[in-house]
């Protein structure tokens, strides 16, 4: 684990009277797996959206890989190496799984003002895309329309699209959302293969998954990060137990 990759300072975002993220400070180190936990409505998705550039913060700064990215658009951040997945599955439903990933490869292969050669026969896009699909376990489903994939497979496809952009930091918003037990386990296994080789910021509800995957955990409640530390410390933290873990932790 190395240098600071992402440095968030005083990130604040309100919706009307509701302060969804309240002066959030956060540091992500190169190579770590960092989980953000917290009850529904705590502001986790709002935080991810601001990091990814989908929401403009009211105040605060975001530094990534040494540069201030607060003013950059979402695509510009993606090209710098930030990649997000969505809590509510977001894929290109009318494209095949392979097309989905190939588009993500294409987004990072120079500009796309190329009007003549067929993209679907372009090995420089298709081969890396196929390799990434294979790596998330969807190799056999490459030709299936994304809309026809099972829910769990669509979530895997999201991860594949994230990976295909060769990101320096993955922002994963509840990758297990809506999954059954077996699907969740497969996703945890998949994320475990990324751990170490990638820097992960993982928002998750499933405590087993969080304690299995995270090097460090931040706890978010009512828009604030109330505690941050290694899993044992978070488990033992009285404030956290009271605010969030409640009965479960005892």
């Amino acid at each position: 684990m190395g240098d600071v990759l992402l440095e968030v300072r005083g990130l604040t975002k309100s919706f009307g009277g509701l302060i969804a993220t309240n002066r959030v400070d956060l540091q992500i180190l190169e190579g770590e797996s960092h989980a953000i936990i917290g009850p529904n409505g705590a502001g986790k998705t709002t935080l991810i959206a601001q990091l990814a550039g989908d929401l403009r913060p009211d105040a605060g700064t975001i530094a990534f890989a040494g540069g201030d990215i607060t003013a950059l658009t979402a695509p510009a951040r993606s090209r710098r190496g930030l990649a997000r997945s969505f809590q509510i599955t977001s894929v290109f439903r009318d494209f095949t799984a392979l097309d989905n990933v190939a588009l993500a490869v294409q987004a990072h292969a120079g500009h796309s003002f190329r009007f003549w050669r067929p993209a679907r026969r372009d090995g420089t896009l298709r081969q890396p895309a196929a390799a990434v699909l294979e790596s998330v376990g969807l190799g056999a489903r490459a030709g299936v329309l994304a809309a026809n994939l099972a829910h769990g497979e669509q979530r895997q496809l999201e991860i594949a699209m994230v990976l295909a952009t060769r990101p320096r930091l993955l922002l994963l918003d509840e990758p297990m959302a809506g999954m059954g037990l077996e699907e969740s386990q497969r996703m945890i296994d998949l994320l475990r293969t990324l751990k170490g080789s990638h820097t992960l910021l993982l928002v998750e509800h499933d405590m087993d998954a969080v304690f299995a995957l995270a090097d460090r955990i931040s706890v978010m409640v009512y828009g604030r990060i109330i505690a941050s530390g290694p899993p044992e410390e978070i488990r033992a933290n009285a404030e956290v137990r009271e605010a969030y873990l409640g009965e479960d932790a005892r």
């Binding site: 979402a74 969505f86 494209f95 294409q106 067929p118 993209a119 679907r120």
Partner: protein, 311 residues
């Protein structure tokens, strides 16, 4: 070849046979009818590039028909009949106007986008109405068809085949475009724009260029249309004309290349030929027919031809 591509190819061969058949049965007027059909097919293909493939519901596409037509009519008014020049102006000015309209309207979406594109087209329509020099709302006659060297558009059959060639070219260019990297971006935007941005595409610039390409292609159709009618009026840009073109796309099948051609054939023949000959209340019949098509053939007439996904 896929089934749809085969049907399209057969359709194009049939179109190529119209002049000799019309001559054989002594009805040269069909050459005129189908030339007009093909000109609108080009306009409809151009709209489909942004509407069907890009999900941009532009309700002002007839603006470019008008620009293309005036780009021929105004030079002709001053005695400049060189077709290469006129058509180049038609394409370049249409693309430039599309750049302006797109730069403003593409920052919005949904109903606002529809209304802004409509408003721009109406603005050009009123501009055409107010410039008395070029006939105002009466429009003006085209003194002579575009001069293209050895290709003599005054010969109706020659002109017909020029239009057919340009229709085939539009289809070929469209096919290349939608399957290129650029085309994949445009289709990705229609499918899920937030996702496109999240994986790193600055979508605006691609939408803008698609908008320009569509405008340019429709400008060419406008240049053909004024040569066909030998008359140009602001009516070319009226919003009902935009609606007509949009309906051809929806009727035939959005997001396919054959669809707009089929839609243009069916709608033009119904409006210009079949229904008026049958009953004077034809408009009362056309309306419900179109509603039924939209309700029961959601993917347009082309969608009735089953096939694997279109490549």
């Amino acid at each position: 070849m896929s089934r749809r591509a085969a049907v399209l190819a057969i359709g194009l061969v049939l179109l190529a046979l119209v002049p000799p058949v019309a001559a054989a049965i002594g009805q040269p007027f069909y050459v005129d009818v189908f030339r007009r059909v093909m000109i609108f097919a080009i306009a409809a293909i151009s709209l489909d590039l942004i509407l069907g493939y890009g999900g941009m519901v532009s309700f002002g596409h007839a603006a470019y028909l008008g620009i293309g037509a005036y780009a021929v009519g105004i030079p002709a008014f001053y005695g400049i009949h060189n077709g290469w020049l006129q058509w180049t102006i038609a394409i370049v000015v249409s693309a430039a106007v599309a750049l302006l309209i797109g730069a403003v309207s593409l920052r919005t979406s949904g109903v606002y986008f529809i209304m802004i594109t409509l408003a721009f087209a109406q603005m050009l329509y009123y501009l055409g109405n107010s410039v008395e020099e070029y006939g105002g709302d009466d429009g003006m006659r085209l003194a002579a068809r575009s001069a293209l060297g050895v290709v003599d558009l005054r010969n109706g059959t020659t002109f017909y085949y020029v239009v057919l060639a340009l229709l085939v070219l539009s289809l070929a260019v469209g096919h290349r475009l939608i399957n290129s990297r650029f085309g994949m971006v445009v289709r990705g935007v229609r499918s899920n724009e937030p996702r496109m941005r999240a994986i790193g595409f600055s979508t605006f610039r691609y939408k803008l260029v698609a908008f320009m390409v569509a405008g340019a292609m429709c400008g060419l159709a406008g240049a053909l249309l004024v040569n066909h009618t030998e008359y140009v009026t602001p009516e070319f840009m009226h919003w009902t004309r935009s609606g007509d073109i949009m309906f051809m796309v929806i009727l035939g099948g959005m997001g396919t290349l054959g669809g707009p051609v089929l839609g243009a054939v069916v709608l033009r023949l119904l409006e210009d030929l079949i229904l008026p000959a049958w009953t004077q209340h034809w408009q009362a019949i056309l309306g419900p027919f179109l509603v039924l098509i939209v309700l029961f053939a959601k993917r347009g007439l082309v969608g009735l031809l089953p096939e694997r996904r279109d490549g």
